[in-house]
Symmetry: C2
Subunit: 197 residues, 2 copies
DNA sequence: TTTTGTTGATTGACCAGTCAATAAAAAATA
DNA sequence: TATTTTTTATTGACTGGTCAATCAACAAAA
């Protein structure tokens, strides 16, 4: 009963299934059968479309990255000032779409796998570079380059750190608190001040 | 040729082998044979002393935690002022013993595994709590409790974030830069300032 | 009849954990 | 002291299970 044009649908379904499987297991140790089952197809079909497991994992990571990128683009479009752009970047990383247990677990798992897979490591570096440049986009208008660089690095580290720490907790992620911490840092770091005494 | 009193030596050798195996592979996907081989014994002996792989992994995590704890204790002893205590906590986390590719990879891998293993999650929470309280130890003497709490959270997130970001890079970790970033944050956050205008 | 979609069955590799057997030191017994 | 027994250390060989990947075969659309 082959309806035509199934390929893109299946690919998408398999990627979604991969994310949810990884999110639930909390690691990349998910079998092809498990993923295929969730997508409602046989494991043979998953191999048919993706060749090997690595490819599917890579495609999944790419998908996650693309989604984050799209969200980011959208958010940046409606940010008027440089300062607002910085806040927008932070906000997107902790938005409901991104900062949920499933996605967090997947990101973390991919970070670990990146130790072994060159392709994956490259992909994560793309993410890191993009995050940095998105932050710099706003920051360079506020601070001298060297300072902006440091602030961007710190902000990025905070975001990643809050993700990883979140992974230890149970229950629903608390995005508000995470954002507040980063904004608190940005506030003290960006607002012009003068030493007392 | 059984020499007596081998147990503690073997346990230690197996734990060391586990760390180096995980560090090299970059994940917990190391076989008992691989670990045992590195320790110079058969896999059967590893099972003899640790029962199951999980136990060995757990013991390894405990060992890492204990080493960090010992380093921390030592560093805190020679810190005179509250401010120095905060810096000491930061410095220890990026000390040569802690901030090396092997150890970083192991920590990261354990974070992921903690998603599945309750026992491991508990252990990592101990670490998080201890880091927090070590930071608070110095911070409460400088800031009101609420503020101190925020700074401690932020510092902890930065440390974890710098660890995870480090995992993406090749080559020798650059502890100096990492410490500089955290200290830069602490400096702007702790030094008494007054808003202009 | 070629292309696209799909699966059940199978293969081959890998691996955690078990077990019976061996050997030497220590303790108990004669 | 000489012996038997127990305890500690250690391994090779094996088992049962899991899983990625392959393949031949079937079905419907073009």
């Amino acid at each position: 009963m082959p309806k035509l044009g199934m390929e893109p649908l299946r690919r998408r379904a398999l990627i979604d299934a991969t994310i949810s499987a990884i999110g639930e297991r909390g690691s990349l140790d998910v079998t092809m059968s498990e993923i295929a089952g969730r997508a409602g197809v046989s494991s043979a079909l998953a191999h048919h479309y993706f060749g090997a497991k690595d490819e599917l994992l890579l495609a999944t990571m790419r998908h996650l990255l693309a989604e984050l990128g799209a969200d980011m683009k959208r958010a940046l479009r409606s940010a008027e000032t440089p300062r607002a752009r910085v806040s927008a970047v932070v906000a997107v990383n902790f938005s409901a779409d991104q900062f949920k247990p499933q996605t967090i677990a997947a990101w973390l798992a991919f970070y670990v796998e990146a130790q072994r897979s060159m392709a994956l490591r490259r992909l994560l570096r793309v993410y890191a570079r993009r995050l940095h440049s998105n932050l710099m986009n706003g920051l360079t208008a506020i601070l001298p380059r060297g300072e902006a660089d440091k602030v961007a690095e710190t902000t990025a580290a905070m975001i990643d750190g809050l993700y990883i720490r979140r992974a230890l907790k149970d229950g629903v992620p608390d995005a508000a608190t995470a954002i507040a911490l980063v904004e608190d840092y940005l506030h003290t770091r960006l607002n012009p001040k003068k030493t007392m005494k």
